[in-house]
Amino acid sequence: MPKCVIDGREVEFKPGENLIEVAKRVGVKIPYFCYHPGLSVVGQCRMCAVEIEKMPKLQAACSTPATDGMIVKTQSERAKKNQKSVMEFLLINHPLDCPICDKSGECDLQDFSYTYGDAYSRYTEERRTYADLDMGPVIKKNMNRCIHCTRCIRFGDEIAGIREMVATRRGNNTEISTMNGIPLETEYAGNYSDICPTGSLTLKDFRFKKRAWFLKKTATICEGCSRGCNMEIQQDGNIIYRCIARENLEINKYWLCDEGRFNFQYVNDEKRICNPQVHKGEGLSASRWEESLGIAKNAVTGKKPLVLIGSDMTLEETAEILNFLKQNFKDTTTFHFGTPGIYSSTNDGYEDEILKMKSKTSNLCGLEKMGLKGFEHTPVGVDTAVIFRGGRAVLPNLKGIKTIIGIGVFLQQQAKDFRVILPGLSFAEKKGTIINFEGREQKISPAIKPVGQSMAVEDVLSLWQAGELKATTESNTGKKEKVLEL
C-alpha cells in the first residue's frame, strides 16, 4: 500500500482517499466545515487547507487525494494562519448568538472557533443580516448563522434526491434557502439539522427544549422500519429530547428518515398507558398490578386465546412469550403483526430509494425466524386475544374478538376497548436483539428507565405465572429490583 506522511506520522492509504480521511486514521484532525464524508467534495470553506511539500499553495485536504510519498503539514505556520483567517472570515458576519442557539455545545463553528479562532475581532463594519422565510414543520432556518458550506444543498441533491435547498443571489449576498420559502418536501429533512455545521438549520421539534450538553446519549437502533438504522437517543431526566443518526455505512450511512427520527415521541407521551388499567364498564381506569393480572387471568382461563405478538418486540421477549405460552396454554394460535398488508418478509420491500422499508416494525424477520406467521384474520370461534406490543406495531382489525388483554405499550386511544392493559417497555427502555430485512442482528439498548409502572414482558409473565417475582430476577431493564408479591 502507498504511504504518505502527515504531521510526521507515516500512514498507509487506499488510492483515491482524501487527506482528511487519511489524517483521521493517525489521529490528526484536520478542521473542516463543508466537507462531509457522505456528500460530494466541493472544497469551499477552505478551512482544511494544508501545506504539502513541493506545492507552492496551500491545498484543500478534502479535495486532495493522498499520493505516495506526499508530505503533509497540517500545523505549519501557513496552514495555521489560514485556519485562523478562515475562522475570522466565517465569524465576521456570524451573529455569535451561541447563548440562545440550539446548536451551541455541538457546533462545529463554535468548536473550531475555540480551537483555531482569535479571542478578538478586527471587524468594525456592519454585520450582514437576512430575513428568514419559513421552511415547513421540521426545520427552522436562521440564515444569519449560515456559513455557506452548502452541505444542505448537496444533501438534498445527492441523498434526498430533491433539489429543494438552493443558493440564491451571489457573492456576499448568497442566501441558502428553499426557493421563495416553499416548505421542505423531503421526508429526510431532519438530516439537514444533523449535517449543518452551525445553528442555521435546527429541528423545530428540539428548539429551545434542552441545551445539548445536558443530553445523555445512548447508541441504539431505530424501530421505525425493518431497515434498522443506527441512531442515538438523547435524553435528560428520563425524557427523550431527540434522536439523531449514527454512522453505519452498511445500513444507513449517516442518515435517518423523519419518521424514524421523531418516532420516539410516544415514549414520553402523556397519552401512553404507563400503569395497569382495567376496563370497568365505562372506559379504562387505573388499577393495581395484582388486580389487573387477576382479571386478565380470569379472562383467558379455559379459553383458547388468540395471541398476537408485535414485530416490534425483540427476539428475547418473543422467546420469553412463546415459552410462557407453552407452559400455560395447551392450545393457542399465535401470530405476529406490525404493518397492515405486510404478513411476511416477502411482502416487505423498499418504500423509497433511500432508507425506508415497507414494514413499519423493526423485527419482522426476527419473529419470522422464530416460526411465527403474520396475522391476517381472526380464527373462527375465538373471542379472546392477548396482544403483546412494543409501541410501534399497528394494531390489526380484531373482528369478532370481545376480550382483549394488552401487554406492552399502548396509547389510551388505541386501547380504549381493551379489558386489561399491563404496561410494558418501549424500544427506548429495554435491551434486546432485532433482525433487519437483510438478516442483520442488531442490539437495542435502554436509553431511559421504564416510564411509570411499565414493566418488562419477562417480569409481567413471571408475575402472571408464579404469582410472584423472584426477588433477584434480572429483568430486561438490566436492573435488579424486587417487585411486589401477589
Binding site: C45, S85, V86, L90, A167, G171
Partner: protein, 427 residues
C-alpha cells in the same frame, strides 16, 4: 494567409466592417485553406506545431496552448469538447470583441483546427451576455460556414464532423473562469469547480474539454498555415510567440487596440510612443498592465517589457493585456475602491475568503475614500488581502487581493492622506 499579413499585423489590418463576410475571408485571407490543410495532418502534428509556435493563452493565465491541448486523452468514453471562452469580462479588456466583430471566420477556422487536433466534434462559443451584437454576427458567420461546408458533417470531405454552438452568458464575470464557464454552459450556477480534475480530463458534460480564449484560437490558422516556427519568431522573447493585442484604456491620448509582437515593447514605449503619452500632458500616476485584476505598477516601473514572464518578474501580470493608464488627475484610492467593488460584486460566494474578504476590503476602502479611515485600516487591508491571496478555490480571490495589496503598498501616501485629512484630497 496572404503574404501581406506577415508585414503588417495578423489581425488589426482586417479590423473593419468589410472584412466580416465569408467572401472577404476567402479572398483576402485565404480563408479555410488552413483548415483543409489541417484535416490532412495528424492530430499530433497539429499539436506539435502549436507547441513549437510558443503560443501562450491570451485569456489571462498565459498557459502554453499546445501543452494544454496535449493534456486531452486520446481515448475517451465520453465525447470531447472544445469551448471558446468569449466571456471577455475583465475590466479594461476589449480585444476579443473586435476579433469576433471583424474576423469571425478566423475564429471559426481556428476552432475547426483545434477541435480536429483534440478530437472534438462539438464546440461551444461561450460569449458574454452583453455582446449581443457580436453573438449575432458570430451566428451569421456560423450560418455562412455551414452553408459553405466549413462546418457540419464530413468537413471538406475529410470525414470529420464538427458543429459550433453559440451560448450566451448571463452577465457574470466568474463565468470567464473556465470551470465556472463550464458549469454555466451546463445550465448550473456559475461557480468554479474543484480542480483536479481539470477540464482536460472532466470538463463540459463530463467529457474531456479544452477551453481557449478567442485570440488564442484566432492565432491557430496562422500557426498551421505558416508553421509554428514562423509564428514563434513573430515574438521577441524565447517562450512567447506571435503577436498580441493590447487594449489600452484610461488617460492616454490615443487609447485603443494595438497589435504588437509578443515581448516587443516596454510599457513606457506603449504609453508614450504608441499611445502618444498621457492625456492633457499630465504626469503618469499608475498603470494596471493586464486588466483590473493585475497588480498595479507605478510610473517608475514602466520600463518593463510587456509580456508574461517579465511582468511576472516585476510582481504583476500580463493578464489579458488590457493596459489601464491612470494619470495623476485621478484618485488611486477611489480607483481601487471601485475595482474592489467590482470583485465583491462578481464573487460567486462559494468559498469563504473571497465571499467574506472582498466585501470586507470594499467596506474598508469605501470608508477610507470617504474620510472615515483609521490608521490600522491599511495593515488590516494588507492582511485581509494576504488571507485571500492563493487561499481560494479559483483565481478570483487572487484577482481581488492582488490589486488591493499592490495599491496599498505602492500608494500608501495617498491612503494616509485620506485617513489623516478625513477626506479625499482629490474630491
Amino acid at each position: 494567409m496572404t503574404e501581406e499579413t506577415t508585414n503588417e499585423t495578423l489581425f488589426i489590418q482586417h479590423f473593419n466592417e468589410e472584412s466580416r463576410p465569408l467572401e472577404y475571408y476567402l479572398k483576402k485571407m485565404n480563408g479555410y485553406s488552413t483548415l483543409k490543410k489541417a484535416l490532412t495532418m495528424s492530430c499530433d502534428e497539429i499539436i506539435n506545431e502549436v507547441k513549437k509556435s510558443n503560443l501562450r493563452g491570451r485569456g489571462g493565465a498565459g498557459f502554453p496552448a499546445g501543452m494544454k491541448w496535449s493534456f486531452i486523452p486520446k481515448q475517451s468514453s465520453k465525447p470531447k469538447y472544445l469551448v471558446c471562452n468569449a466571456d471577455e469580462s475583465e475590466p479594461g479588456t476589449f480585444k476579443d470583441r473586435d476579433l469576433m466583430r471583424y474576423t469571425p471566420h478566423l475564429l471559426l477556422e481556428g476552432m475547426g483546427i483545434a477541435a480536429y487536433a483534440i478530437g472534438a466534434n462539438s464546440a461551444y462559443i461561450y460569449i458574454r451576455g452583453e455582446y449581443v451584437r457580436e453573438a449575432k454576427l458570430l451566428q451569421c458567420a456560423i450560418d455562412e460556414a455551414y452553408a459553405a461546408g466549413f462546418l457540419g458533417k464530413n468537413l471538406l470531405g475529410s470525414g470529420f464532423n464538427f458543429d459550433i454552438t453559440v451560448h450566451r452568458g448571463a452577465g457574470a464575470y466568474i463565468c470567464g473562469e473556465e470551470t465556472g464557464l463550464l458549469n454555466s454552459l451546463e445550465g448550473k450556477r456559475g461557480e468554479p469547480r474543484v480542480k483536479p480534475p481539470f477540464p482536460a480530463q472532466v470538463g463540459a458534460f463530463g467529457g474531456p474539454t479544452i477551453v481557449n480564449n478567442v485570440e488564442t484560437l484566432c492565432a491557430v490558422p496562422f500557426i498551421i498555415s505558416k508553421g509554428g516556427e514562423w509564428y514563434s519568431k513573430l515574438g521577441r522573447l524565447e517562450k512567447s510567440g506571435g503577436t498580441r493585442l493590447f487594449g489600452v484604456s484610461g488617460h492616454v491620448k490615443k487609447p485603443g487596440l494595438y497589435e504588437l509582437p509578443s515581448g516587443g515593447v516596454t510599457l513606457r514605449e506603449l504609453i508614450y510612443d504608441y499611445c502618444h503619452g498621457i492625456l492633457d500632458d499630465r504626469k503618469l500616476k499608475a498603470v494596471i498592465p493586464g486588466g483590473s485584476s493585475t497588480p498595479v505598477l507605478t510610473s517608475d516601473e514602466i520600463d518593463v517589457v510587456l509580456d508574461v514572464d517579465p511582468l511576472m518578474k516585476a510582481g504583476s501580470m500580463l493578464g489579458s493585456a488590457a493596459v489601464i493608464v491612470i494619470s495623476d488627475a485621478y484618485c488611486v484610492v477611489r480607483l481601487i475602491e471601485r475595482i474592489t467593488k467590482f470583485y465583491e460584486h462578481e464573487s460567486c460566494g462559494q468559498c469563504t475568503p473571497c465571499r467574506e474578504g472582498c466585501r470586507w476590503m470594499e467596506n474598508i476602502l469605501h470608508r477610507i475614500e470617504h474620510g472615515q479611515g483609521k490608521e490600522q485600516d491599511l495593515g488590516l487591508l494588507l492582511d485581509i488581502a494576504d488571507n485571500i491571496n492563493g487561499k481560494t478555490l479559483c483565481a478570483l480571490g487572487d484577482a481581488a487581493a492582488g490589486p488591493v495589496s499592490s495599491f496599498v503598498r505602492k500608494f500608501r501616501a495617498d491612503f494616509e492622506a485620506h485617513i489623516r485629512g478625513g477626506k479625499c484630497p482629490n474630491a
